[in-house]
Every structure is written in C-alpha cells, then in structure tokens.
Symmetry: C2
Subunit: 210 residues, 2 copies
DNA sequence: TTTATATTTGACCAAATGGTTAAACTAAAT
DNA sequence: ATTTAGTTTAACCATTTGGTCAAATATAAA
C-alpha cells in the first residue's frame, strides 16, 4: 500500500541518514541500515538500487537542508548588524539540533569534490553579490567589505559558526578538563560570535576614518 | 639490515600516511598502501601487526605534529598582538604544506573520540591559563579576555585558521566561480585573520572604557 | 663455509560486504 | 474466488579485504 510503502521507504531513508551521517559513506554498512530500519537488507536494494544511490539521496537531502539555512539571511530585511546576529542565532541553533551535519557534509565533499559543482551550480554568485551590495551598500562601504575581500569575511563568519561543531570532540574534551560545559559554550557562542564580528567591523570602520 | 630495514619500515609508514590522510581509516586499503610502497602486503603486517596498529602509528605522528605547531605561541616572548600575527602566519603556512591534515585529524577524532584523552592528557590546562595570564596580564584585562571566555576566543582564532582547510572544496569552488584564486586567498588570510581578531579585541577595549 | 636469524614473497583463508534471486506473502483488481 | 501486481524475506553469490603461513631469500654470526 501507499501508506505501508511510504512507511518502509521512509524508514529506510531515516535509518540510512542516521548511519551515513554517523559513519560516513565508507564506514556505513547496508546491514546496519537494514537492522535499524527493522527490515530485510534486500529491501534497501528494492527501494534504492545500490548503496551509492541511497547515499546520494541522503546526501542531497542533508546538503540541501544545510544550504537552505543560509538563504534567509539574504531575504530578511535587516541592517547588517542584525543580520549577523540573526545568522549566528539561527545557524548555530540548527546545528545544535544536528551537530554532526557539518562534519558529514564537509567530509563527503572532500571525498567526492565533484558533488560541489552540482550543489552550487544554481547559485549565481555575482548576482548574489549585487543583491548584498544593494541591500547594504553604505554598511559595506563603512565596514570596508568589498567584492574582493568578501570571501575572507564570509569564511570568517561561517567558520566561527561551524568550527565548534567540526572540532567538537577536541573542544568538548578540553572544556571538560576546564570544568566548563560544551552546550553552554554553544549557547553563548551565538552572541559572542556576533559581537566579535561586529566589533571587528566597527574597529575597521574607525580605522578607516583616519 | 638496519639500513634496508629502516628503508622498508619507513617506506611503509610514508605510504600509509599518504593513504590514511587521503582516504581516512575506513577508506584506506592495506593493498593500496603496499602498492604505493612497492612491497608485498605481508610486510605491512610484519612491521605493524594490524591495520589498526599502523593507523595508530600514523595518527599519533600526525596529531603530534599538528599540536606541536601550537606550542611556539606560548614560548615566544611577544606582545599579544604580535603573537596573534605570528600564530596565523605559522599555522596557516603549516597547513598550506599539509592541507589535508586538519580534516583528517578532526575526522578521526570524531570516529574515535577516546583518542583525544590520550592527546590532551599531558596538558595541564589550568597551568596553561596561568602561564598565558602571567605573560599577558594587562592585555587580557584590556581586551576583556577572561578564563571564562577564553574558550570562545581560542576557538574563534583556531577556527579562522583551520576552517578554510576543512571547507576547502566548498570555498575553492565558490571562489573559482568568482574568478578568485584559493591559494591567494590563503596567503591573504594570514594577515586578514590577524587584523580581524585584533580589531575585534581593540573595539572590545574601546567599549570597555565607556 | 655453515649456521642461525631476519626479511620478503606468493599462495591462501575466513569473514565481511554489497548485491542478486527465486520463492513466499500481501493486498488490490477482475 | 482468482488473478495480478507489488512487497518482503531467506538463501545465496562474487568480490573484497584484513590477515596468516610456510617457503624462499638475503644477511649476519659462528
């Protein structure tokens, strides 16, 4: 039945997501996925021909989900400063709920770089820049953000948000030794990161004037 | 012979390093390692009993190498600002030569978090803080870096340095689309990151005074 | 030179793993 | 009720893979 059908196919997809995200493509085992879904291994091949197919389905969904999280930043009609706060709040919150996604995605992109082309092919980066520039012309000028240095700025912002999750095991261990709580650190990071970036920009602005 | 011996064992180690760093533990194949070393697969087991043993040997060497790169920052007798510049220059330069190490290390720590304990067990973090505090008491106060928020600060700095390498495929692809050069971006990042961090601190300082 | 020791190899093995298939089962259509 | 189509399963297969072993080779010691 369509109902039962969806249930099975969906269960497979969910279990596959779990296993792939946790172990990566190379470490994942089809039997493991079948076990978690509580079904026979053959069903995996019945619904998704091969491990590769199944993995692709999962990866595309995950990567899409992650990239979508960046979009609202462009839509929201907020001053740059507020957008920065908005971004860190939303992005870190999303990763708090899905702490393994960043590592998973970056990792698999590393293993298979061609995948990236497919992910970013629809994005017209020059248009993106035009949009941003239109929205924040004065602020960008004030903060000395140019088309030339925007990659530096963007990767700084992205890194501040993503790095804690990519390096989670290390950071969490060290913090444990210091008697601090990692979850608390994440919570505080939403504000700390935003403040840090905004401070850097404002100082830049001050230096500019001289 | 000791000479031949070392040559073989070393060749194995080098090939293993290549393969493990490139493919990770799960993706690496013993046969692949043997082929690159130009020797019989059995020799791998002769010198390093199992794949796990071989991997451990490689990982410990790599991780040690990476962590050592953080040490000079503490030794150097420089003002904080200069230390920050020194760190980004040295750390990014090291990773430029070994662009895959960060992903490799973080990944494998993710796969086997217990490994971290072994890596950081010798580090007395409280003592580390005392050292830093002694070296930069005034600056820390000025910039409002406390024992409570130092994890935020340290991960920010580490992230700015490491993230470009962890997310290299994504960043490089997007930059290519923009007509920019990734290697150039890395080169510029040494200064950009330092400036950015120092700016953030200085603005913090300015706000503090009010 | 002969003996003992270390090194290297090819053949081999057992387990794991992705994938196939034919049969059994379920449920809707006739 | 019977046929038909879709779903699920157990048994099976071929290949890969980490690992072993005994024989062969080279090297040092006697």
């Amino acid at each position: 039945m369509t109902e039962e059908d969806k249930q099975t196919e969906e269960k497979i997809f969910e279990s596959a997501t779990e296993v792939f995200v946790e172990k990566g493509m190379d470490g994942a085992r089809m039997q493991d996925i079948a076990n978690r879904a509580g079904i026979n291994k053959s069903l995996l091949h019945y619904y998704y021909r091969t491990k590769d197919h199944l993995f692709n389905a999962v990866f595309e969904m995950i990567a899409g989900q992650m990239f979508k999280k960046f979009a609202p930043v462009l839509d929201e009609n907020l001053p740059l400063e507020e957008k920065i706060r908005f971004f860190f709040r939303e992005h870190i919150a999303f990763m708090q709920k899905n702490p393994r996604l960043p590592s998973f995605i970056l990792n698999e992109l590393h293993r298979n770089p061609e995948r990236i082309r497919k992910l970013i092919q629809n994005i017209d980066i020059n248009k993106l820049w035009t949009t941003i520039e239109a929205q924040h012309k004065e602020e960008l000028k004030r903060y000395n953000i140019t088309k030339e240095n925007i990659p530096q700025f963007m990767t700084t912002v992205a890194g501040m948000s993503v790095f804690p999750f990519v390096a989670r095991p290390v950071i969490a261990s060290i913090m444990e030794k210091m008697g601090y709580d990692f979850d608390n650190y994440l919570e505080e990071r939403k504000e700390y990161a935003a403040d840090f970036v905004i401070n850097a920009l404002k100082k830049q602005e001050a230096s500019n004037k001289m």
